[in-house]
Subunit: 432 residues, 2 copies
């Protein structure tokens, strides 16, 4: 798939057309091993994910790169630098997908990395080694754990994550990794698979999973931070069931009225936080009266709901979370309801250094490439590396219809616009 | 069960003790044919309901009353008056129950009627005939249709009601009535089973299904009207699913935020209506995100809910209903959501003449029996008779824990307090 293309580094129109052809060929090849009739399905550490890694490895071998696989079965395609002891510059993303997902969430970043590596290979040698990594098991849809491959790389794949089971197969993540051929000794010991200091920078290209770039009419974004979250998946409001006609208003303990007041109050506080300059999103994605007891003529005595709060700022998460709990307690108290928030699961925000954002924006401006700065609402492998101390950057590519569904729609030309930008950033970082 | 009791009409303490013993014996007998391990279950036109009717008929026969069954299998126990051509005075209620219901919803009113008839039998003869009726099939829980027996009596049991099927047996109401032995010719022709003009008054005793009497510390209530309702059982709000972290607030079309704002707005309008003097209750008893698509990290794109609005005033129902629809359309428009209210089912409020309320309150005051006037939020057989032009009255008996559940709890002494009241009202009405 490479002989017919002749990529150079000057970014001319014909070169860009060739870039698009190659990107589409690679994306089509990855899609072809994972079509499911609706979209694509590449389960974490499953056969279709493995086949996609094989495509990447063959491309690396055929183009004269160094290809290797680490103990967690992440695939590395490397272009050695003239100073191999200097910390590497790494780009890449993941190759798994959710069930009936789209082809671009993850794979687009790996393909952008390979196109970049190919262009760097044809230019003057860099001092630092450059690598494209394809991580395994990024999607939490399969085992509840996200970033399995990148967490394993930095020694952060914890025992309870390895023990988490697929609701479908009832196999644990650890069992499925072992079956796939992973070498579990270091992983289980939480020993990093490389000296983390040997990774100087990690720059991930990924489709945007929201509509911000689309609504602003800009193909690329420089990510300013990866939102952390506080997540309550099973909040229970309880009051008192009763006859919908026979109980007067002031004697009701209606859980639906309580939860509605609470959600409305949260939305108003969200708007206030944003007006005060905070980065914040919140979602109550699950909301349900008790299907075994509810009815059109019954005052609802029980509602369950969920809450997902996200921000790039730890202080915002903490402040808003406290406000949400206090407000719920206040509303429940006034209405004679009980509210139980259950377990909270927290994922810390990932810091992206402002120097990295500035460099990405600066290189784009030098190329005449429009770009906007924006936070990432979704989590990414970059967050796992950032938490281990690696300097990370992220470039978002415009995408329609969100992600995790067969309708996600990225223009290949938008993805290819990221390649000269990534080439430029790596060249700037690549000298010693 | 009658020989050991010696009831007189003077209402002395020992007579009241005898009344309580007899009431408990009758309620226990009815309970005994319908225990289900949790509460009682007497399906409409089923065997347990039939057995309860048998207990009533035997009591009537043993005490020398006239017992008959009409074409709809309602049981009548009558004390003939000296002027049999004058319109009857009828009291009674129903003997069916919901599944796992309580023993008092319906049966208490029949028992109060029998105790009243027994006391009238021992006093001076009345000009007008007095009857206790036990209606069949009042509960809508079995076939979706309420008041089957009393509707049939007045010729209002419509073809679509007879055709409605039990979700469990898949048999229609008409089929089950036929199997039980009902004579369907007149019923299907919507011909009244009696000349409606021959029923001068219908006074129903029933447990209160709300907590008003309990909270006011009064054993009895004089019902001022039976609330009608407008009911939407399947309202659909739809917006757009999306990633909970990646879509900014202003680009979301979150159905949960929309429905919460709507429910909050309705509650505020409800309070305003009540402050302006309107009789109104409202309940959104069912509220649920789409279980096939919802998730903690997914912006909810679909919510279904229900709404039950009740008032004794037709104008309030109409005004509030319009406000609810307009407000939903406004909120949906502002948020980029769609809302579909589906089918509305209306039941008209039943009028209780103020003269009847005054008479019940006046007789109670004469007896030194505390009583309060209050509307009925739930529907009753009295509404079917009122809609046919019968003058109706209702007396509520204090009851804990609502109805339609095994925990409903009425003190027999409260029920027996209704007997002298009913005796007094019937005596006042019973002369010509």
């Amino acid at each position: 798939m490479t002989d017919s293309t002749d990529l150079t580094e000057d970014g001319s129109t014909s070169d860009n057309a060739a870039r698009i052809l190659l990107a589409e060929a690679m994306l089509d090849a990855i899609r072809s091993v994972s079509v499911d009739g609706l979209g694509v399905t590449r389960p974490s550490y499953g056969a279709a994910e493995g086949a996609a890694h094989g495509i990447l490895a063959r491309f690396g071998e055929e183009t004269g790169m160094v290809v290797r696989t680490d103990e967690a079965l992440n695939t590395w395609v490397q272009l050695p630098g003239t100073h191999p002891d200097e910390p590497m510059i790494v780009t890449g993303s993941h190759l798994d997908s959710v069930r009936n997902g789209g082809n671009f969430d993850g794979a687009a970043g790996v393909v952008a990395g390979l196109l970049t590596l190919r262009e760097l290979q044809r230019g003057p040698a860099l001092a630092r080694t450059v690598a494209v990594v394809a991580f395994r098991g990024e999607e939490s849809a399969w085992f509840g754990t996200c970033y399995a491959g990148s967490r394993a790389l930095v020694g952060h794949l914890e025992a309870d994550m390895l023990a988490s089971r697929s609701p479908e197969s009832n196999l644990s993540l650890g069992e499925v990794m072992t079956s796939a051929g992973a070498d579990m000794a270091k992983i289980e010991g939480q020993t990093p698979l490389v000296d983390v200091g040997s990774i100087g920078h990690f720059i991930e290209v990924h489709i945007e999973q929201g509509p911000d770039l689309l609504s602003q009419g800009v193909a690329l974004g420089a990510v300013t931070g990866i939102r952390g979250n506080r997540r309550y998946s099973d909040i229970r409001w309880s009051g008192e069931f009763g006859h919908s006609g026979a109980v007067p208003r002031t004697l009701r303990h209606d859980a639906v009225l309580g939860v509605s007041e609470w959600i409305q109050a949260i939305e108003q506080e969200w708007i206030s936080e944003q007006q005060a300059g905070a980065d914040l999103v919140m979602t109550s994605g699950i909301l349900s009266t008790d299907p075994l007891r509810h009815g059109v003529t019954s005052i609802p005595g029980a509602v369950k709901t969920s809450l997902d709060i996200r921000s790039v700022e730890h202080s915002t998460l903490e402040r808003f979370d406290r406000w949400v709990l206090d407000t719920a307690a206040d509303i429940a108290g006034r209405r004679g309801l009980q509210v139980d928030f259950g377990t909270m699961i927290e994922t810390a925000p990932a810091v992206i250094a402002s120097e990295m954002v500035s460099m990405i924006v600066g290189v784009a401006q030098g190329l005449g490439q429009p770009i906007v700065a924006l936070p990432s609402g979704a989590g990414h492998d970059a967050a796992a590396l950032a938490s281990a101390g690696v300097d990370v950057g992220m470039i978002f590519v415009r995408n329609s219809n969100g992600s995790h569904n067969p309708d996600e729609a990225m223009e290949t030309s938008d993805l290819c616009a990221a390649v000269p930008l990534l080439v430029g950033v790596i060249r700037e970082l690549g000298q010693v």
